[in-house]
């Protein structure tokens, strides 16, 4: 086989590799979200984060506006301190926004939902969301049901 045909075939091989990498990075993995615009950070403190994991989504009215970047335990206030990274185009959350931990579907993964309040002041970078609602822990729920049933009968 002459060298020109070999070079053409090797070139096609390279193109096929680039196509495969394109499919793998754009369609299969989450690369598109990695290259999104910069964001600002907010802190929210919860009593119980339940099954919330890092890189969980932060949604307002069901639309993803950011993600959880860090979950840490604060030994001084005995609460979990969650750091959120919100997309810069959504910079108008009022100071009395509530952050709650919801579950997607019945047994899906957990995410943070932001419910805006009514104040005029807007949350800035590194502000803390003061109104929070912790995750629902199944054992506590069952305990409450058993307690209320035994109290009633």
């Amino acid at each position: 086989m002459n060298s020109r045909a070999i070079e053409i075939l090797v070139g096609l091989f390279m193109l096929l590799f680039l196509a495969a990498m394109f499919i793998l990075s754009m369609k299969v993995s989450n690369l598109t979200s990695l290259t999104s615009t910069q964001g600002y950070t907010l802190i929210a403190k919860f009593e119980n984060v339940g099954g919330l994991k890092e890189r969980a989504s932060v949604a307002a009215s069901g639309v993803r506006v950011g993600e959880v970047t860090n979950i840490a335990y604060d030994p001084e206030t005995f609460e979990a301190s969650v750091t959120l990274s919100i997309d810069e185009s959504y910079a108008s959350f009022p100071m009395d926004t509530t952050a709650s931990i919801y579950t997607a579907g019945l047994l899906g993964e957990q995410y943070i939902g932001l419910d805006p309040g009514a104040e005029d002041d807007v949350l800035q970078d590194s502000d803390e969301i003061t109104l929070t609602q912790s995750a629902i822990v199944l054992e506590r729920l069952i305990g409450q049901v058993l307690f209320s049933r035994s109290g009633g009968s």
Binding site: V10, A20, L24, K27, V28, N30, L31
Partner: protein, 257 residues
């Protein structure tokens, strides 16, 4: 008794000696790679022989592996009502594990054995000695192009295997089994991370390419120069490469994930 001990010791010492020879061989191989910049046509020819020629088996195997994965995953996941996660499972399995490993095994069987047979035959027909007589370094001329071609080709083939496997999974999952198309791709995108999954898969491919090419070329260059010697060197390449791939895969998975 002492006879048995002697033979036992000799076998093990022989293996250690061979490993040492192989390591010195690798050092010369890597040294020969640098001179390829002056003569890239050698590299293209070997990329064609190792990479392009292995393409057909890699693509067909990738398609069928992806389809089988989707089928099996669906049958199990539907018991939990999570059949929408077929895409996630197929993609993660392929990109993290099956892509590099199966491609490595196929490459060892097809391109690795071809390299060993070719080099072994060159040694048996005294072409390598002839090159040395003409003051041409066989490492630079014969071995290094094949080595570099293997190292470059295997991760590329692994990526193609994973990509076409995911497409095959889509074909079976969405078209035949009725998984929701949007759920297939969006759940997959949420669970596959580019940096820790796709890139780690590529790193695995690189390591496997290094090891398979090294074993293939060494076995060829170190074989007994008879037809029987070449044939046993070829089978040794496939066996040792496969074992090395599987062992290294475990190590790399333990480190990376």
């Amino acid at each position: 008794m002492s006879d048995f001990l002697q033979r036992f010791g000799r076998v093990w010492l022989g293996m250690v000696e061979r490993l040492g020879r192989a390591t010195l061989f690798l050092a010369q191989l890597v040294g020969g790679v640098f001179s390829l910049i002056k003569r890239p046509s050698l590299l293209w020819k070997q990329l064609h022989a190792s990479g392009v020629m292995t393409l057909s088996i890699v693509l067909v195997s990738g398609l069928f592996v992806g389809m089988v994965l989707a089928l099996q995953a669906f049958n199990t996941l539907i018991d939990f009502g999570q059949e929408n996660r077929v895409g996630s499972l197929v993609a993660l399995t392929l990109v993290r594990e099956l892509g590099p490993v199966v491609t490595g095994l196929l490459f060892a069987g097809r391109a690795g054995s071809a390299m060993t047979a070719e080099i072994g035959l060159m040694k048996a027909t005294e072409q390598l000695s002839g090159l040395e007589m003409m003051a041409v370094d066989p490492f630079k001329r014969v071995f290094a192009p094949r080595f570099l071609a293997g190292v470059i080709a295997l991760p590329m083939l692994a990526a193609m295997f994973s990509a076409i496997g995911v497409l095959g999974g889509h074909l079976i999952g969405v078209e035949v089994l009725g998984v929701d198309k949007g759920a297939y791709w969006s759940l997959m995108q949420n669970s596959v991370s580019f940096t820790s999954d796709v890139c780690n898969g590529l790193i695995k491919g690189l390591v496997f390419g290094f090891v398979v090419s090294w074993i293939a070329i060494f076995e060829g260059a170190d074989c007994i120069p008879t037809s029987e010697g070449v044939s046993s060197a070829t089978t040794r390449t496939v066996v040792y490469s496969s074992l090395a791939i599987l062992g290294l895969d475990f190590l790399l998975t333990a480190v990376m994930f």
